[in-house]
Amino acid sequence: MKKLLIIALATLLLFACKHELERPTWDVKMIVPLVHTKMTINNMLSDTNLNIFENPDGFINLVYAESFIDINLDTLIKIDAIADEQTHTLDSATFADVVITDTATIGEAITEIPLGTILLPDGSTSSIPALPNIANEDTININASEYFKTMTLYRGMLIINLNNGYPTDISNVSLTLINATNQNIVATFSFPLIPSGSIVSDSVSIAGQTIDENLFAILNNMDVNASNGPVLIDYSDAIITTITISDIGITEATAIFPEQQLTETLKEHNFDLGSAQINEIGIKEGTVTINVLSTLPNGKMVYNIPSLTKNGVPFTSGDMIVPEATNTDLTTFTFDFQGYVLDLTGQEGRLGGDTINTIYTESYTFIDYTGTLETINHTDSFYSFIEFYFITEYAKGYMGQDTIEIESEENNLDVFNNMNASNFELKEVNLEIKIDNYIGADFQIDLIELKGRNDKTNNEVSLINNAIIDINRATLSNNNLPINQTTSDLTIPAEEFINILPNKVISAANIYLNPNGPSSTQDFLYPEYPIEATMSIDIPLSLIAENLSFMDTTEVDLPNDNELEIEKLYLTINNGFPFDAEIQLILLDENDVVFDTLLNNATIIAGQVDENNIVVNSTPTTIEIDYTDFENIKKMISISNFTTKPINQFIDIYSNYELEITLSAKINKTIGK
C-alpha cells in the first residue's frame, strides 16, 4: 500500500503541472528579390509600332512604317451580283403531238361478207364487186390512254389521215369521233372518194373540247367501189386511219406525261463596269443559287452557264427535280463556284463576235416522266430566281481610266504621343514613301500634300507639295501568279518633321488609273494583291535629348499578400544607357484618382561613357520605396525624363545597352501565427 501511495504521488507530481503545448511566435525579416528584368531598347519599344534594326556594330535604327493611302479596289472593278428572274407558264409550253393509228384490213372486211372468204379467198385474183354500205355505223375503239386520261384543250387541231391500202377505191366515207364517256361528238369527217393507194386528210379545231382517253370512231358509212377488173386479194391490205392531235394547248390534262421540255431560255447578261472592259474573271469563291417554285407536280429544270467553266467543263446544274409547291416557299439549289472562270465575252460563236462584260446562260424547264397520272392545267408555271455571288480572285481585261481622289485626311501618328522634350534633336531622319504595285495597270499618284503637325505645340512641317509618282504596271508570270510587282519610292529628309514630335500626318492625293489609256498588255487585278503604299520614317538613334519625357499609364495587378508584411521595396537599376533618368510613379485607384506617389523624381544615373560617348560601364542606382497597400491600386502613371549624357552631344544608342532592373522586398513575417 505504501509503495502504491509512493507511485501515485510520483505520478501526480509528474503530471500535475503539465503545461498546455502551444506554438511559439517570432518575427522574421527577409529580403528577397521579387522580379528581375533586363531591358534593351528592343524591350523598351516593344509595345510601339516601331521596327528596330541594328547594324553590325549594334547601332540602332528605328523605323516607323505605316500604310497611308488606302485604295479601295472595289472602285476599280465594280461587279455587282447578278440576278436572273424568269417565269415559265404552261400556256407558253408546247406539247408533243398525240398520234393514234387504227388499221382495218380487207381480210376483216371480206370475213364479214357472207361466203366472202369462199368467193374472195386470200391470195386469189378476183374482181371485187361494188360493196355499198360495207360499213354502216361501225364503231372503232380508239385507245389514247397511252397519252392521257383526259385532256381539255384551249388550243389544238384534230387531224385525220386515211390511207387506202385496199386494191380498190372506197367512197362516201363518213367518220364521227365521239368521247366514249359522255358521248360528245368531237369531230365529224367526210371523204367522198379515196382512191386505192392514196391518202386523204382532214383536220378540225378541237379548241375548247375535252378529249377522253377512250374515243369511239364511228364509221357512219363506207362504200367499197367495184374493182377495175381482177385484182390481187391480199387480206393484209388495209385502210390505215391516223388520228393526230397537234398544236396542243392544254387547259387541263390528266395523263402519265412523258418527259417533255416546256421552255427554253437563252440569255446574255451584261454588266456595267464603266470604262472597264473585262473579259475574264477568276472566281475565288462563290455560289450560284437557283430558287425555283413550280406548281407542276413533276417539274424539272436545268440551268447552264456555258461561259462559266472549271477545267474547261462548263457549269450545268444538271436535272433539278422541283417538287410541287404547296406554298410560296421556293426550292433552293446551291452550286459552288469556287475555282470557276467566268468568260465575259458572251455566247460562243455569237453574232458580231466576242463582246465584253457579258455572260451567257441557258435555262430549260421540263415536265418530268413520273410513271403516274398527273393533272396539270394552263395556270401551272415555273418561277425561277437565280442569284450569283462571287468573290473575285482576279479580273483580266482593260481596267479603264479612272481618277481616285483621296481628299485631305489626317492620320494619327501615335509613336510620339506621350513624349515631350525641352530639346530633342536627331542627327539624321529620312522619310520614305514606297509604293508596291501588284496591279497590272499603270498608275500615277499626285501627292498633293504631306505634312506633319504637333497639336500640342501647333508646330507644322510640310514635307511634300504636288509630287508626282509614276507607278508602272505589274506583270504576271506566264499569265498567272506570282505577280511581279513594281516598286516606286520617294525619299525626303525629315529631321525637322520628327523634331516637332508630330502627332498628326496630313495627306491628300489623286490617283490616276491608266493615265495613258489602254496598253498593249492586258490589264489584270488580283484583289488580294493591291497597291501597298507605305510611309516609313527611318531614325538612326543618334540623338540629343534634354528632358525627353515619356508618360505612360499602365494597368497594374500587383501582388498583395496579407500574410506578408512588406516593409520596403527596393528598385535596383543598373543603367547601361547613356542618359540620366528621373522617374515618377503615381498610383491611381479604380476611379483614376491619385492614391499615392510611389516615386517622386527618383534619379537614375547614366551609364559611364568613354571618350566616344559609348557606354563602358553600367551605373547602379537603388531606390527605396516605402511599401504601399496595393490592394486598391489599379493603374500606375509612369513619367520618365531622359537627358542624354554628355549633354549637347549626339549620343548613339546600341542594341547591347541595357537597363537591368531588380525589384526586391523587405518582408516581415510572424512565424507561428
Binding site: 502551444e22 521579387l34 522580379v35 528584368t37 535596383t572 500606375m636
Partner: protein, 411 residues
C-alpha cells in the same frame, strides 16, 4: 538511449535479485539535452510565447560551439525476465521517441531572424540535420553465465511508426545588398514517412536490432562490454524522399515588363517546387546503437562501497549510403551527434535509500554533468533520478533536463 545507460548503471542491482526467478520492470525516461540551447528555448518551443529579438540573440550567442545540438528522448518500457540455472530470458517492450538535431548558428540566424541583417554575407548551414524517430521495440534477450562470465545477446523487432529526417551536408545562402539576388547552395537529403497516416501506432516500417553484452571479472574488477540496439528500420515505399544537390542564383522571377507582374506570375515561377522534387521510395534509417565499456570495483568505504567508470559512445549514420567499412563506422559515430561520454558513478547506501551519484562528461554536450538517482528497496525497487542535477539549479539557463523513473518487482 539514456535509458540504456541507466539500465547498465543499475546492472549491479539487477544482479542482486538473481535469487528470484521472475522480474517485472517498468522504465520511463525523459531527456532533453543540448550543447548550447537552454531550457528557455525548450519552454518557448513547447509552450509558446513571443520569441523576442533579445531571446534570439541570446540563443544564437549561447554555447561555445558553432554547431548546436539538441537531443530529446522520451521512452517508456515494460520488461519481464525469467531467471533459471544461471540463465535468463527477458521479454521487453519499449515505446521510443527520439528527436536529434544539429544546426549551425547561421541556421538559427536565418530561421529566427531572417536574412535582412545579413546582406552581403553568406549564412552557412552546412552539417545541419534533423532526425525524428518514433517506434516500438520488441526485444528478447537471452543471458547465460559460464564460469563467472556473463554473456547475453538480444534480438529486437522494431515496429516503425514515423520518421523524419532532413540532412543538409552542404548549405549556404548569400544575400546580395538590397536583396537583389540570393546565391543558394545546398546538398540535401530528406526522408519523411507516409504523411497520410499520423496515427501514433501507424506501421510505416519494420526493422531489426541486435544486442551483445558481456560481463566478466579481471582480478577484483568487473568489466562490462556491450553493443546495444545495433539495428535499422526499413521504411515503406510510400515514404517521401528527396535528394538534391544544387547551387543557383535567384534574382527574382524573370519578367519582360516590370509593371506587369502579379501573383500568378510569381506562382508560375515557384522555385520551391523546382527545388523540392520528391519521389516515393523505401529507405533505411538507423537507430542509435550504444557501445558501452565500464569497469567496476569495490572500496572499503562504508558509504562508497562500489564505483564504476565507463565510456559510452553512439553510432547512428544518417543514411545507408555506403557499405560497412571503417569509413562507415567512423561516419556513424560522427553523424550520431554524440561525443564519447565518460562517466564515473558510485553507490552510497544509507538507512532510508541508496544514492547513486554520477559524474559524466560528453554526450550531446561538452558539459560536465552531475547525475543523481535515489533507489529504494532491494527486491522490489523504485528508482528515480536525473542525469543533470546541476541544471536544476540553473533555471531557464539550464541546457539539459532529464528524469528517469524505474520500478522493479521481483518474485
Amino acid at each position: 538511449m539514456t535509458k540504456k545507460t541507466i539500465l547498465l548503471l543499475l546492472f549491479p542491482f539487477v544482479l542482486i535479485a538473481q535469487e528470484n526467478k521472475y522480474e517485472i520492470t517498468w522504465k520511463s525516461n525523459f531527456l532533453f539535452e543540448s550543447n548550447s540551447l537552454n531550457k528557455n528555448f525548450l519552454n518557448s518551443m513547447l509552450y509558446g510565447g513571443q520569441i523576442t529579438d533579445d531571446i534570439k540573440s541570446e540563443w544564437i550567442a549561447s554555447g561555445d560551439e558553432e554547431n548546436n545540438i539538441i537531443n530529446s528522448e522520451i521512452s517508456n518500457g515494460l520488461s519481464y525476465t525469467y531467471h533459471f540455472n544461471k540463465q535468463s530470458i527477458k521479454f521487453e517492450f519499449t515505446d521510443i521517441n527520439i528527436v536529434n538535431s544539429q544546426f549551425t548558428d547561421d541556421f538559427l540566424r536565418l530561421f529566427f531572424e531572417g536574412n535582412v541583417d545579413h546582406q552581403n554575407e553568406t549564412l552557412d548551414f552546412s552539417n545541419t540535420n534533423i532526425k525524428a524517430n518514433r517506434f516500438q521495440q520488441y526485444k528478447i534477450r537471452y543471458s547465460r553465465t559460464i564460469n563467472s562470465v556473463n554473456i547475453n545477446g538480444g534480438l529486437s523487432y522494431l515496429a516503425g511508426n514515423h520518421h523524419l529526417s532532413y540532412i543538409i551536408n552542404q548549405g549556404s545562402l548569400y544575400t546580395a545588398p538590397f536583396g537583389t539576388y540570393l546565391n543558394v547552395a545546398y546538398n540535401m537529403n530528406a526522408f519523411v514517412t507516409d504523411t497520410s497516416n499520423f496515427s501514433i501506432f501507424a506501421n510505416n516500417g519494420n526493422g531489426v536490432a541486435i544486442d551483445f553484452n558481456t560481463n566478466f571479472s579481471i582480478q577484483e574488477y568487473d568489466i562490462h562490454l556491450s553493443l546495444t540496439d545495433l539495428g535499422f528500420i526499413m521504411w515503406k515505399a510510400s515514404s517521401i524522399s528527396l535528394a538534391t544537390d544544387s547551387a543557383f542564383n535567384f534574382q527574382g522571377v524573370e519578367i519582360e515588363d516590370i509593371f506587369n507582374f502579379n501573383d500568378s506570375v510569381l506562382e508560375a515561377n515557384n522555385i520551391i517546387d523546382d527545388v523540392l522534387r520528391t519521389n516515393n521510395t523505401s529507405f533505411k534509417s538507423y537507430i542509435p546503437a550504444i557501445i558501452h565499456l565500464s569497469v567496476s570495483g569495490e572500496t572499503d568505504y562504508t558509504y562508497l562501497k562500489t564505483y564504476t567508470a565507463g565510456l559510452l559512445a553512439k553510432w547512428q549514420p544518417y543514411m545507408d549510403n555506403k557499405p560497412l567499412s571503417f569509413s562507415k563506422i567512423n561516419q556513424g559515430f560522427q553523424e550520431s551527434n554524440f561525443s564519447p561520454l565518460y562517466y564515473i558513478h558510485s553507490i552510497l547506501n544509507t538507512k532510508y535509500c541508496d544514492f547513486v551519484p554520477t559524474l559524466s562528461h560528453g554526450g550531446y554536450s561538452n558539459d560536465t554533468n552531475i547525475g543523481l538517482a535515489l533507489s529504494k528497496g532491494k527486491k522490489n525497487k523504485l528508482v528515480i533520478g536525473t542525469h543533470h542535477l546541476e541544471d536544476i539549479f540553473n533555471g531557464e539557463k539550464a541546457t539539459a533536463v532529464s528524469l528517469y523513473f524505474n520500478i522493479q518487482l521481483q518474485f
